[in-house]
Symmetry: C2
Subunit: 455 residues, 2 copies
């Protein structure tokens, strides 16, 4: 009997229970960016602590300057140590009107469970925890030590995580980090993600007159902050999707020919992708394919605009303030601190007369490329192949998981990014979903991975 | 005894009552742009009808496709007819947080009454009605016929007014229109406004993907509608405050040398104005003074922006839609239909690939210059001089009062724009105010004007 057999049996016998638990998890509106949700975020931490305890780990909530980190471990020493990372916080659910039901009322629709956080990251992280539970409670964890770190601030840039990891280096020592916060390449095409983009997220606040003015009486006399904001944000956008900040591309590592070939071999059809996103056409930097732009070229995206009259109809107001949130996705070897500095310098240069600007720094993250060799990646690939019935593909991803860099820099350990979600899971959008069969597959992958690694 | 004496005495003896009535008027949240306020807008119409009746006019509410027009008259025939125009609707009160008290809880603060609509236009229009009441009820209206037309859709561009005037040409026949919906030049410096800007107010809706996307996973693959919107709105803005639409300036009538001299003689101090608006500095089209830019040069102002995440903090969303409201103020002889056509053509030219745009036409208005000679203007100037103790100055204004053009085109009659408000009344802004002494002066001006004209 392979060590995975009793654990897989344990999973099979408790499918209903695991799904019920996930629904309970999804019912908690743990929106980390919303100060009004503080108590709910804490409830989610309690939930995770209790599930880690049930899995057989010594679990506790560790306070931070923000939301608590939930940590659990079972360590004997002298054998490979797996550190699982995930997050229990979720994105804001807005715009609420576009949800088919309440974002925190998880609903089974066909094969999917629909709720905020279903895929990002509650469903994925709980699949890993369930896999740990099955392994430990069935007595299958022969050769592996386990540590689990689930944070509550991933969606606000993990401000307290890096200091925590730095402080707790000894406790967190591990041989590999496992993260399930990415996607399969397509349904049934499992993927290990080896490249992630970095991020610089800024908010530009442009202020002019001390109060809103009548645009008829005062227009032409003062610089309108909303005029200024649109001009400034436009100035960031170079021709054909390029970013116009001077020096922005200096450190960009060109795509390797082998990567471009690999990308081109993936089962990707532009027409399917276009249908999925529902845009009039695809668009972006010239000279690169869609996958190359998504995965390996830096970008500039406006994430939010607000100024003046935002309701129905017309109001002839010259607004006193305009706000724009925007983010730049970075690729190796761009450095978020360097890009932030360049962006702020650029803002100083392009600020028109007659307004004052303030730049708020939201989160930043370094881009990352993780090695594709090594026993942990091989074990993960074998586990995924066994469960999905197909070898995983190696892909990159446009999102950021800053902690991958932190683990590398602080603990010297690489991460294996096991994608259980799907590209169309609506992470960060209304009607976020997660495939229930993939939820169960994720548990099985964890069981097989631990069995493989502990051989 | 001059005919004005008994009417002035009537006013004096009823000051408290008129102020109480104004407060009742201001308590009605007649926001014409808000469908939820329909009943309140109707209540304001009832109020006006009742005050016209009390003034001694035969008054009624006339239905339109939108909010009713209140009309009253007292006509004997064979003598000069004065048609008073005003509006009983108000701007939306938002942003509510900036008001010192509820916008529809009129509050006396020193010499001012503070409420939405205090100056624009309830306080001013009710001052004229009170002047009519004093004239008629004191038996002083010897030589003038009176008509009063108060509409409820001025703040949404008066969509039903021009058709009404066209339909009711016979009934509305008049020798002069009197409007109090402008300002004194400065406190104690009464003004007759002879020039108004026109307006084209558009809303640009940019749509891309069918739903909000994760900006990390999808950024670079599709055109971001908020990126596109900022680029497009920036493209409207030429260098140094010029409007970049091709042909935009073709019909602009240059300022006359005599006007520039008159403007320059007005008691205007840039430092005072700068302090009033509270901007870092004044700014606008090169080669023109601040007053020239405000009054006689066309402008482009963004009035509203909304897209993506507008709340606190960060959300890495690639929004599916972005909306920008903007307006262009026009000067003689620019034509709003021509400018709308040019703007829409320009939008077609600058729409980037990968998004679809829709243009919503909010209201439009023609610019206007009214003759400064004639008996009605002379009578108004004499009345203002008598009440304010100072000859009025002749000024222009950056706002639009489209009905001035309609009266000219449909009835062949010019308007006299008597400014009772003040430039810092916060029309369209929080804490809108109106000077109570000027409220009483306005009634007296109406009394004196009717006496003068009826001589």
């Amino acid at each position: 009997m392979t060590p995975a057999v009793p654990a897989r049996a344990y999973l099979e016998s408790r499918r209903e229970e695991f799904l019920r638990n996930l629904m309970e998890f999804l019912r908690i509106p743990s929106v980390s960016s919303d100060p009004a949700r503080k108590a709910e975020v804490e409830r989610a931490a309690h939930f995770v602590r209790d599930r880690l305890t049930a899995a057989g780990l010594r679990a506790e909530e560790l306070p931070t300057g923000g939301h608590p980190i939930v940590y659990g471990e079972r360590v004997q020493g002298g054998r490979p140590t797996v550190l699982i990372y995930g997050h229990y916080d979720v994105q804001p659910p807005e715009p609420l009107a576009l949800w088919r039901h309440g974002p925190f009322e998880p609903t089974v629709e066909g094969d999917n469970i629909v709720a905020r956080g279903a895929s990002d990251d509650k469903g994925q992280v709980y699949a890993l925890i369930a896999g740990v539970e099955a392994t430990l409670q069935s007595g299958s964890a022969r050769g592996v030590d386990l540590k689990v770190l689930i944070e509550g601030e991933e969606e606000v840039g993990s401000p307290n995580l890096a200091p925590f990891i730095r402080r707790e280096k000894a406790r967190l020592r591990a041989d590999v980090v496992v993260i399930a916060d990415t996607s399969q390449f397509a349904p049934g095409v499992p993927a290990i993600t080896y490249g992630l983009k970095g991020l610089v997220y800024l908010e530009l606040v442009v202020r002019g007159p001390k109060k809103d003015l009548h645009s008829g009486s005062y227009g032409g006399a003062v610089m309108n902050p909303a005029n200024a904001l649109t001009r400034m944000i436009a100035a960031f956008q170079g021709p054909f999707g390029r970013v116009a900040i001077p020096g922005f591309y200096d450190k960009v590592k060109p795509l390797e020919a082998s990567e471009r070939e690999e990308f081109a071999r993936l089962p990707f059809r532009e027409s399917d992708f276009l249908e999925e996103v529902g845009a009039p056409r695809l668009w972006g930097e010239e000279g690169y394919t869609t996958l190359e732009r998504q995965w390996a070229r830096p970008t500039f995206d406006v994430n939010g605009l607000v100024s003046g009259h935002t309701g129905e109809g017309s109001k002839t107001v010259l607004p006193s303030e305009a706000r724009g949130k925007f983010s730049m996705r970075l690729v190796p070897d761009q450095d978020p601190a360097d890009i932030t500095r360049r962006a702020e310098e650029f803002i100083r240069e392009i600020t028109p007369p007659g307004v004052k600007v303030e730049v708020l720094r939201h989160h930043g993250a370094s881009p990352v490329l993780v090695p594709r060799g090594g026993p942990a990646v091989r074990a993960a690939a074998a586990a995924m192949a066994r469960v999905f019935g197909r070898e995983p593909v190696f892909i990159r991803e446009g999102g950021s998981i800053p902690v991958v860099n932190t683990f590398k820099n602080e603990l010297g350990v690489d991460s294996v990014l096991i994608g259980l979600g799907l590209p169309d899971d609506n992470a960060h959008s209304p009607n976020e979903k997660f495939s229930i069969p993939d939820f169960y597959r994720g548990m099985a992958v964890m069981v097989e991975f631990l069995a493989e690694l502990g051989k």
